[in-house]
């Protein structure tokens, strides 16, 4: 089972197909077309120029507020292809999709009676893993329509049924679905949540021949400033004008509290303290669901009925953020002919992440934390899948791992 033939051939033209299979495997076959047509292009393709139409009435502007300039994620790929390939398979990259040019992006079942809008009215989709919302233009604005499709439970749910026409997308939502928005000028640096949404503008970095000190590396920031990058969207708030529900003008690395006040700020609490507190709450929530973490990626093989032919593509997804390709064999202690992938050992626990959750679900869990100091006893059971010739495979696995003293921690 673990000897695979589906290795990447490394040809750019096949990348979109591999990316599609990655998500297809999560029983969402429509993703095949979605990702294949929107995110799997040639990484050498130039980014959209200034003034190009982006989406929802916005155009591209590469200007950054500090004299720097944005480049777009495709430009990053020329030097950081591993990361780019990983990123383009995330839901950050595909948060917004044009349903007119890519009808396969729509995941919902429109055969249900009594829906307040039709499939043909949908111009853009928002999200594609937890919930999918739909957007259409009315006069000069775009609005999120009053039903959402729960991708996980495959059912319609009400969404802002009374107030949806009072919440223009550009004011309430767009800032967290784009890279650097200027809502007054209706410009964005890039569609979707691109590399520079978290690293800031890359122009000076490139001008300096890739100098590391000319772009934001969250790992080099203080913990608080690094967390602020995530908080700028994973904590809900308003900008300083109170007009927009995202931090207008914020660039990664800056003090988010100067741009953004959380909606759930408590009396007497500073914006910074509230950001720290609410981000901590969000992160705790994610940590608590970490055992089901791989499901957020839609990785093949989670479902045992799914073919694992595209395992190598799945690993590229992991390597996109966890750059441990060189350490993998050291970590899993198997010869490379076995060709293990992460989920062979790190088996998901929850059947359905949406169970027990209420309200709006926006978050993804990428945190990799196991019990018992990074050792997950569930792994022993996974070993038995292949080592079933042992009398007591689980006990055997435990003993083998005890001889290893400790797991080889790779990047966390």
């Amino acid at each position: 089972m673990l000897i695979r033939s589906g290795r990447s051939d490394g040809k750019p033209g096949s990348r979109s197909l591999r990316g599609s299979f990655l998500l297809c495997a999560a029983s969402l076959s429509l993703f095949f077309f979605v990702i294949g047509s929107t995110s799997g292009g040639d990484v050498s393709q130039p980014p959209q120029p200034d003034g190009a139409r982006a989406y929802a009435g916005m155009t591209i502007s590469r200007k950054a507020p500090d004299g720097n300039r944005f480049l777009g994620s495709k430009a990053c790929a020329s030097c950081h292809e591993d990361y780019y390939r990983g990123w383009e398979k995330t839901f950050h990259s595909t948060v917004i999709q044009d349903a007119r040019t890519n009808p396969g992006a729509i995941l919902a079942d429109f055969t249900e009676e009594g829906l307040p809008f039709t499939r043909e009215e949908v111009e853009y989709t928002i999200g594609s893993h937890w919930d999918q919302r739909y957007m259409k233009r009315i006069d000069d604005e775009y609005y999120v329509l009053p039903r959402l499709w729960s991708v996980q439970s495959k059912e319609w749910r009400p969404y802002s049924v009374w107030s949806w026409k009072k919440k223009p997308y550009s004011r309430y939502c767009a800032g967290c679905h784009t890279t650097f928005i200027d809502p007054e000028k209706r410009t964005i640096a890039e569609e979707g949540i691109g590399c520079e949404a978290c690293h800031g503008p890359g122009g000076l970095h490139v001008d300096g021949g890739g100098r590391a000190d000319r772009i934001v590396n969250p790992e080099k920031l203080t913990r608080e400033r690094a967390n602020m990058i995530c908080s700028s969207c994973h904590v809900r708030g308003q900008d300083t004008s109170g007009e927009y529900y995202y931090p207008v003008g914020y660039i990664p690395g800056a003090d988010l509290a100067e741009y953004y006040t959380p909606l759930e700020i408590q009396e007497g609490e500073t914006a910074k303290a509230a950001l720290n507190r609410l981000y901590g709450d969000w992160k705790d929530k994610m940590l608590n669901s970490s055992r089901a973490k791989c499901e957020v990626c839609g990785i093949a093989g989670q479902d045992t009925d799914t073919p694992k032919d595209n395992a190598q593509s799945d690993m590229e997804f992991c390597f996109g953020c966890h750059n441990f390709r060189a350490k993998l064999q050291l970590h899993n202690r198997h010869p490379d002919t076995v060709d293990l992938v992460c989920y062979d050992c790190h088996v998901k626990k929850a059947d359905d992440l949406s169970k027990g959750m209420s309200g709006s679900i926006h978050s993804y869990s990428y945190f990799l934390v196991h019990t018992e100091n990074c050792y997950d006893p569930e792994i022993e059971k996974a070993c038995a899948k292949c080592h079933d010739d042992e009398t007591d495979p689980v006990a055997w696995a435990r003993n083998v791992m005890l001889t290893w003293k400790r797991p080889v921690v790779i990047d966390h």
Binding site: S150, S160, W162, S163, K355, G356, S358, G359
Partner: protein
């Protein structure tokens, strides 16, 4: 008390977990949007008798079905207090309908803790909740009734930050009063 717990804690949990929020929304009560709100009279925590229909023609009313054992209900009280304070002078009232929650002192403790300024009504026999409004699903349940006495909006559960629809609903319905509709 056990029956109440099963109806309003276990059933909702099962509903949320296995059947989804949309089903919970649609089956939360028998009274539907567009119907005349059934009238009732309940005693408030301070002993005053309050009748729903006394507000008809004058105010927009939000019924908030809650209980002291409902943590989500208690967590959203500050937001309810804010909404009440924002609109109370313009013709809006919240009636907190308290499902069986133990002694009045226990309810009073929650009222004091959060400084709840709107009337808290006691429905310890679930007369209004189950017999009049036909609640069969989770709480908190909000039912907003226009000045014409018609149910305009209902919502099961709390709202994620920034997605509270109550101010939008109340603003629209208050403006209808002002417009003489």
């Amino acid at each position: 008390m056990l029956l109440v717990f099963v109806i309003f804690m276990v059933v909702p949990h099962i509903t949320f977990c296995f059947q989804g929020i949309s089903l919970a929304q649609s089956t939360a009560m028998k009274v539907k949007i567009g119907q005349k709100a059934p009238d009732f009279t309940l005693k408030s925590l301070d002993g005053t008798e309050i009748t729903l229909s006394d507000y008809f023609g004058k105010k927009v009313v939000m019924l908030e079905f809650w209980a002291t054992w409902c943590n989500i209900c208690k967590k959203e009280i500050p937001n309810l207090v804010k909404n009440y304070n924002d609109f109370k002078d313009r013709g809006f009232v919240i009636l907190g309908i308290t499902l069986q929650s133990g002694e009045d002192a226990e309810i009073q403790e929650v009222v004091n803790e959060h400084g709840i300024p709107y009337p808290i009504l006691i429905d310890d026999k679930l007369t209004v909740a189950t017999k009049v409004y036909g609640l069969a699903g989770p709480i908190p349940l909000k039912v907003i009734i226009g000045a014409d006495g018609v149910v305009k909006y209902s919502h099961v559960g709390d709202y994620p930050p920034g997605e509270d629809e109550v101010p939008f609903v109340v603003e629209d319905l208050i403006q209808e009063i002002a417009a003489g509709q």
